[in-house]
């Protein structure tokens, strides 16, 4: 199989409109960040009970989306599955901009963003017992590894690609496992404390990345007049279904164990508390039940449209999983003393979504999208088939 890659033709009007829109939204996001920087976090929805808001949700979501993509490297280089090669460049590039977007998102959430450099003072000014500090190492090394991997792909060096692919894959797993440990090691918060958190996160990453890849691939190919190969999409869909089942398994085991002791009340709060409708309708029903139904359906699961829709739902569902872990997870009132704690100290936390925060969140997504479009335009990421027949062929237009 001989695959070449090309830049995206970017002359159509749609391209300009899309780029302009994404650019404008990114700018709006930046402006709302400046507002929160100058006025303080009072313009956001966070408080002392739920200190982390949408930027952190986005951060871990984007990291997850990024990290899971490197499973393709594992398939290609270790398992020798050549059919993923056409999309590997696009996937790795997506991974790079997603992790970059995540780091930007974290920086935006800091109370004093101008001090973000302190997160990178490894071992010198950093406290290495802190998962934030460890993660800073992971994210930086992962970003570097993924970038080098992409460069080896551009160079066409198979042996180097294989090595860097595996390195990037390892860092990706460490990264997102580390992200999971940020939450899993906090024993004060009962909905979070669990040894399974890194694995839950990795599983969610794998699921959501591949699902995102399906959607992006389908949309991008459609708009750049390439034909998506049906078998590729279906097999990606099968991977998504598999990882989704794994994710469901891990979440169930986690909640089950918490349902014993300790943290039983926290588990009940998460599964049946005031916010649980979000859990059941978005994360489970929309994000897991319907996609699984589609993907395992004898007819629907074999159509490209079905897989794409299921993947889109998975992408949304995993977003809600991240959101539900953080915000309702933090809303669970801490029990300082046995009994009913009166008033504000025992009340479930609340999180209003302010306009500034919403615009900032949309802006981060738009920023990542903007970088993606720019990348497609200026880098040779999209596959072109020369031998014909086996790969998507460019059409006129």
């Amino acid at each position: 199989m001989n695959v070449t890659f090309s830049k995206m033709e970017s002359k159509s009007r749609g391209f300009f409109i899309l780029t302009a829109t994404l650019g404008a939204l990114s700018l709006a996001g930046f402006i709302s960040f400046m507002i929160s920087y100058i006025q303080g976090h009072q313009v956001l929805g966070s408080g002392n009970v739920i200190p982390w808001g949408m930027p952190i949700v986005l951060a871990i979501y984007l990291i997850g989306l990024s990290a899971g993509l490197h499973i393709l490297a594992f398939f290609i280089h270790i398992l020798g599955r050549k059919e993923w090669i056409p999309i590997i460049r696009m996937a790795v590039f997506m991974a790079i901009i997603l992790i970059f977007g995540a780091m930007v998102s974290i920086a935006l959430d800091l109370g004093r963003p101008e001090k973000f450099w302190r997160l990178f003072m490894f071992f010198y000014l950093n406290n290495m017992t802190s998962m934030f500090a460890i993660n800073a190492i992971f994210y930086s090394c992962y970003l570097a590894a993924a970038s080098i991997y992409l460069m080896t792909l551009f160079a066409g060096n198979e042996r180097l690609s294989k090595i860097m692919g595996m390195v990037a894959f390892c860092w990706a797993m460490l990264t997102h496992g580390g992200t999971g440990l940020i939450f899993g090691l906090i024993y004060a918060r009962e909905p979070w404390f669990s040894a399974l958190k890194p694995f839950e996160f990795i599983m969610a990453a794998l699921t959501s990345s591949l699902a995102l890849l399906v959607v992006v691939m389908f949309v991008t190919f459609h708009f750049t007049c390439r034909q998506s190969r049906k078998e590729l999409v279906i097999s990606l869909g099968k991977l998504v279904a598999g990882f989704l089942l794994g994710l469901i398994l891990l979440i169930s085991v986690n909640e089950l164990v918490h349902g014993y002791k300790p943290g039983r009340e926290a588990s009940i709060f998460m599964l049946a508390g005031p916010f649980s409708w979000q859990f059941w309708s978005f994360q489970i029903f929309l994000g897991e039940v319907i996609p699984l139904f589609i993907l395992f359906h004898p007819r629907l699961g074999k159509t490209m449209k079905g897989v794409v829709i299921a993947s889109a739902l998975v992408v949304i569902g995993v977003f809600f999983e991240r959101y539900y872990l953080i915000i309702p997870g933090l809303a669970y009132p801490q029990s300082y003393f046995p009994g009913k704690i009166e008033g504000i100290y025992g009340a479930v936390g609340s999180f209003p979504l302010t306009a500034t925060e919403a615009v900032m969140s949309v802006g981060i997504f738009a920023f990542v999208g903007f970088l993606f479009i720019l990348g497609l335009k200026h880098l040779e990421l999209l596959p072109v088939d020369e031998s014909g027949g086996q790969m998507p062929a460019p059409e006129k237009g």
């Binding site: 071992f123 290495m128 017992t129 190492i137 090595i163 390892c170 009166e342 008033g343 504000i344």
Partner: protein
Amino acid sequence: MNRRTFIKVSVVTGAAVGASRMIGQPNALSALPLQKKAPHVDEEKWVATSCLNCPACCAIRVRIANDRAIKITGNPLSLTSEGKICPRAHIGLQVLYDPGRIYFPLKRTNREKGKGSDPKWTPLSWDQALGEMNQRLKSLRENDQPHKLLLFSGLNTASSRDMIARFAGAFGTPNLVSENGLDAETEKSGNWMADGHYGSTAYDLDHTNYILAFGADLLESSRPLSRFLRKWGKLRREKPNRTKVVVINPRYSLTAAKSDEWVPIHPGTDAALAMAIAHVILSENLHDAAYVNNRTAGFDAYKRLVLGQYSPEVVSKVTGISPESIKRIAREYAQTKPAIALRGKESIDWPGGSYASYAIFCLNALVGSIDVPGGIIYQETPRYKDMPRWVEDDIAGRGKARSALDFRGTDQFPLAEVVTNRIPESLLEGVPYPVEMAIGFNSNFNMSAPGAERWDRALKKLSYYVHISPFISEMALYADLVLPSTTYLEEWGYDHSPAGSGFAEVKIKQPVVLPQGDARSITDIIFDLSKRLKGPVAQSFLNMGDHSEGFVKFRTETLMPWKEWIGKGVWKGKEYEYKKEKRLFATPSKKFEFYSGNLKALLTKRGKRAKGDLDFLPHYQGVKFLGEKEKYPFILLPYKPLMAIENGSQNYPWAQEIFLPMQGIGWDTLVEMNSETAENLKLRDGSAVWVESPFQKIKARLKCSEGIHPQVVAIACGQGHYAYGKWQKGIGVNPNEIIGVDYDRLSGQAAFFNTRVKVYKA
């Protein structure tokens, strides 16, 4: 080694190093060195003065740095509270620097007076303001009508009160209305009937071993609060016998939460319970026979009544407390020596409250707890230097001979020294005569009195009202002229606590900072007014210092040298003398009277025929509620939480944000109702409800609570302000607005707790 191995090794090594640092001591981070000395502060000092956020007037020290008050703490020389202060004292910083204060005199330009209308204040100079007042005051005297001047006195220092009283006396008006009629006058009348002292009770808290508290929020609104807070710690864990505290209250107050036993009594039946306890004590011979036989009179009549009508079984039906509990508590009380039975507003601010107060007070005599260590003690008053007799001319004499506006001391309220809440009716009806001018000193009665709406109407009717306080309170909204007085941290004065320590203690007030803006102290204002009035009024204020500092110097000359006095801030009288025996009682028999000879003599003198001996004995009068039970099933219980600042304003964020600690919220008022009762009414916790009495209704959030009697609805006082203040305006509700008007007939005390209400969803 190839690249992959190298990478693997580096990664592993790095991880190992990191891990070792992680797994090692998490504490072993290097400490930053201690900081260097802070930048230069121009001037710093501690000034001794006293607080005035409630009538306790605790001695405080205030830290001043660069002319700004930055911290308030207690004065260890004050033994009333062993140098401790309650949280309200700390909030004094926010009282001093209240952003809503007024700093110069204001005159009303919008003639329409009302809750919603803007007075359209314009500033004027002190000279103009006082000149205007002087005109009117002068004309009153010239027309031989000095009695048509009405003076309201709210929370003021002792020195201000002395000045106001002297002014009333020299000017010639009998109408000096203090806030006492809204507080606990029934405590005084109950005491008077037994021992002849018309005053509040002091308790020897250092040594008592048992406290039986009837409706008394010892840790929230007692006076002096700081004393109770300090002594609580002492009584519980700083002496060999831990004092047992039993709280009798329909509401599970903070005090009840901290005490050993909470007895949820039917509201208003405390007198019956007290008599039943007496029944148990007497029928089981647990009383202090020696004391009763030698030091008391009227015991036989009392005993007959108690044993005849107040058995625990009968009283149990009235109070809702089981006979076993009554017997147990009575035995504990009588057998733990020394013991105190004390009462608070919630048990005695009722019609018939004087007798309830009397009944509870008698329990102390039964066990011999009068003027002994650990029992009831009698507050010594400090001996200031006497002011010269004021100059009273005929005009003033005639004025003061007139009957007072509030019908105090008349057949309506025979024992009353003041009937504060009667004033609106007198003003509205113009009886016994119309009023021409009124001056309010730090008063805010249309917020703190029951039936607030009639106060508003009455104030509206006043033709000329001058209000003097540091801020525009709700009462000031009806003023024609507002004079900015200083807060207590900016003025000279002297104070002594209400009854508490037994021994006398005087605290100084001196300015910790210069008066802010153009504010002046009440003492100085009165000196100024008197000078302008000339004649006998002016003469009455001569030779007493001529201004506030001089006045304080004059009055406290007898205490200690001035330099020492302003340095220390506290003067303490001699040690308390117990067992004063023969010199103690101001009663016909010179003993403690279970059958009130004082009251009998008074009523006989008036030619009143008593219905029988019952009138002179402590007894339970039965409860008369305002509103029928069918229509208004619940009984309203307004209570004062600790964080309610009593100066007429609540514009203090430090107080507001922790306003209700038992409910864990601030910035609001809650309607507290029994959770089962609420469930029966299908009302959800946190929902908005209307609380409606036969008179008015208010809306607030519901709190379903386990700590309240099923038929009682409790609402905290202190919120519901609407006059000024970013931190209080429109926050919460004021339960006084829906309370009906009723009195304890003997003392004129306003009844707060006998209004019935209904509660429904908003």
